[in-house]
């Protein structure tokens, strides 16, 4: 503010002083001075427009909420003073439906949990049922390697999607195209393996649906340098980009204690420096045979979560390379007629196989009574399945522990006190997937 306003008397229209043009409550000169002060940065805070709390709905159809979450914000100016994160817009009663489906029929539902990496959900659920059946170690080695391969491909696709969407919402449209193109290559491979582009339903209790085509390993191997190239482009374009770094560095910082209290797992927890990865800490399938590292962050901010995803793609590619080298020949399903459908040829030609086929389809795989909790590392963290069985072919209770449910529950604490614009990168980097969070 200039001194002229406070010292000079209010202008009187028709008086001796030259008449000043009035804009709103202040004069034109006053306006110019205020504008000049704003540009020079020596604005006097006392003269700012008074603000009052305003309620603002972000979502459910806001572009950065991916259409599935609503954040009721209380804002004071640009600062968020309170937030109510409301989820459930994509609730499809996964757990209730599963109680009425046979163990095999649940697979298509699991595809729709984290719909960006359905293979990982397939694998996690299959391992849970196998643990209940007590056949985890009986699954043929080749099937275990195939599960690792499709799982790691899905993980790469998941991280690429999070990277792409996160960058796009900060205005980096080019990155989006680079990363989504790379994801499309992976989905083409997965389509070739399973027959479906997104909802694969490829894994079965006791193995996988079909063997890999002999060409698949070489195809993925030629693909990997291309993905590496795309990642290189992403890094080159973004890591030195001032706009991107300003919105990611030091935004959405979460401490280790907070993250552990909120039940964070996966990339989000590792960004705070806790090296917890289910693949390392509780190796399942054949993960203990691979040489890979678990990258961890230092500050727990959005940029850490971004860079960790890119680093994990590289680690997944290391696992893929080793898996192709080690993968043995052999069957891809467990040899147990109580679990596996007989071959179609036999179903049409022998009455025994026909009956076996009928019993498995109608009654489901008979699972002994008991309860287990099985967990795997999915795209967002620890994906757990808690199954209570009463000895029939359908689960008595099936609970899915969705990793991003716990991560999203921390969103309120992460955004309160920050600007509205900070919500977008913070929300993107926690990679909330509605299908998994709401089930």
């Amino acid at each position: 503010m200039s001194d002229s306003h406070s010292s000079s008397a209010p202008s009187v229209p028709g008086g001796n002083e030259p008449r000043k043009m009035v804009i709103g409550l202040s004069t034109a000169e006053d306006y110019d001075a205020r504008r000049q002060a704003a540009v020079l940065g020596n604005e006097d805070d006392d003269d700012e427009m008074p603000t009052e709390p305003m309620e603002l709905n972000m979502g459910p159809s806001h572009p950065s909420t991916h259409g599935t979450v609503r954040i009721v914000l209380t804002v004071e100016g640009e600062t968020v003073t309170d937030a109510d994160v409301q989820i459930g817009y994509l609730h499809r009663a996964f757990e209730k439906e599963s109680e009425h489906a046979t163990y095999t029929q649940v697979f298509p539902y699991t595809d729709r949990l984290n719909y960006v990496s359905p293979m990982l959900n397939n694998v996690g659920y299959a391992l849970a049922v196998e643990k209940l059946l007590g056949i985890v170690d009986d699954v043929p080695e080749r099937a275990q390697y195939i599960r690792v391969i499709v799982g790691e491909l899905a993980r790469i696709a998941d991280h690429l999607t999070a990277t792409a969407a996160g960058s796009m919402e900060l205005g980096a449209m080019t990155i989006y195209f680079y990363a989504i193109k790379a994801r499309e290559w992976i989905w083409e491979i997965l389509e070739e393996i399973s027959g479906a582009r997104m909802t694969h339903s490829y894994v079965r209790v006791g193995g996988v649906a079909y063997d890999l085509h002999p060409d698949i390993p070489s195809k993925i191997r030629t693909l990997m340098p291309k993905i590496q190239m795309a990642l290189h482009d992403v890094k080159e374009l973004l890591f030195e980009n001032r706009i991107f770094r300003d919105r990611m560095d030091g935004i959405g910082v979460f401490s280790q204690e907070q993250a552990l209290s909120y039940g964070w797992t996966g990339v989000s927890l590792r960004s705070t420096g806790v090296p917890y990865d289910v693949r390392k800490d509780h190796p399942y399938l054949v993960y203990d045979r691979f040489d890979f590292s678990v990258p961890v962050g230092t500050t727990g901010d959005n940029f850490d979560r971004f860079i960790l995803r890119i680093e994990e793609i590289t680690q997944s590619m290391r696992i893929l390379n080793q898996a192709f080298d080690q993968m043995p020949e052999g069957p891809v399903v467990v040899d147990d007629p109580r679990i596996i459908l007989p071959p179609k040829q036999a179903v049409y030609n022998t009455i025994e196989s026909m009956i076996a086929h009928f019993k498995i389809i109608v009654d489901g795989v008979k699972v002994p009574p008991g309860e287990i909790y099985s967990y795997t590392e999915a795209g967002n963290g620890e994906l757990g399945f808690y199954i209570v069985s009463d000895g029939t072919g359908r689960p008595y209770r099936l609970r899915c522990r969705p990793p991003c449910f716990m991560i999203t529950s921390a969103l309120r604490e992460m955004i309160v006190g920050h600007g509205i614009a900070d919500i977008v990168p913070t929300f993107d980097m926690m990679n909330m997937i509605g299908g998994e969070c709401d089930r």
Partner: protein, 165 residues
């Protein structure tokens, strides 16, 4: 999960453990619903158990059995990686009100949303919860869908009617 933790829990709680079992490497202790806050905070602070990470919180409806509900907590020790499942028995009430159990929001912040989900789906009240309301379903929803006596085919479309008509 770990047999060591099961032994430790028996040593600490003694007769307060209603039953315990191990199945496919998952060790479980069952306690009374009224004990749960004390049991979990003890396990969390215990120097030998150090179960400081709440992995999951859910419930099971054993319809037709007494006690009807079980609230299930999955714990993990971040130091050793060992796990333990703690189940709390929650009997149904006779007068039609919701059964209740103490909240553990003060121990782990993630319990906030998970308890809201259990309330939403099973109608179990968590006493002391700061903000207990439905989370996945809408406020107008009647009943608790994951209870076994809620029919799967039941439909409750959300139709907002003008109160003046």
């Amino acid at each position: 999960m770990s047999q060591r933790l099961l032994d430790r829990a028996h040593a600490v709680f003694g007769p307060r453990i209603v039953s315990s079992h191990a199945f496919h490497g998952d060790e479980t202790i069952v306690v009374e619903g009224t004990d749960i806050h004390d049991v979990l905070s003890t396990l969390r602070a215990d120097a030998e158990a150090k179960l400081d990470f709440l992995v999951d919180l859910t419930a099971v409806d054993h319809y037709g059995r007494e006690p009807r509900f079980e609230v299930v907590y999955h714990l993990r020790s971040m130091a050793t990686g060992e796990r333990l499942r703690v189940k709390a028995e929650v009997p149904d009430t006779d007068d039609g009100t919701e059964p209740s159990i103490a909240t553990i929001c003060d121990l782990w912040k993630c319990a906030d949303w998970m308890e809201r989900e259990v309330f939403d789906m099973f109608g179990i009240k968590f006493t002391g919860h700061p903000d207990l309301r439905r989370i996945l379903l809408y406020e107008e929803f009647i009943g608790y869908p994951l209870r076994k006596d809620y029919p799967k085919e039941k439909r409750q479309p959300l139709v907002r009617r003008d109160p003046n008509t």
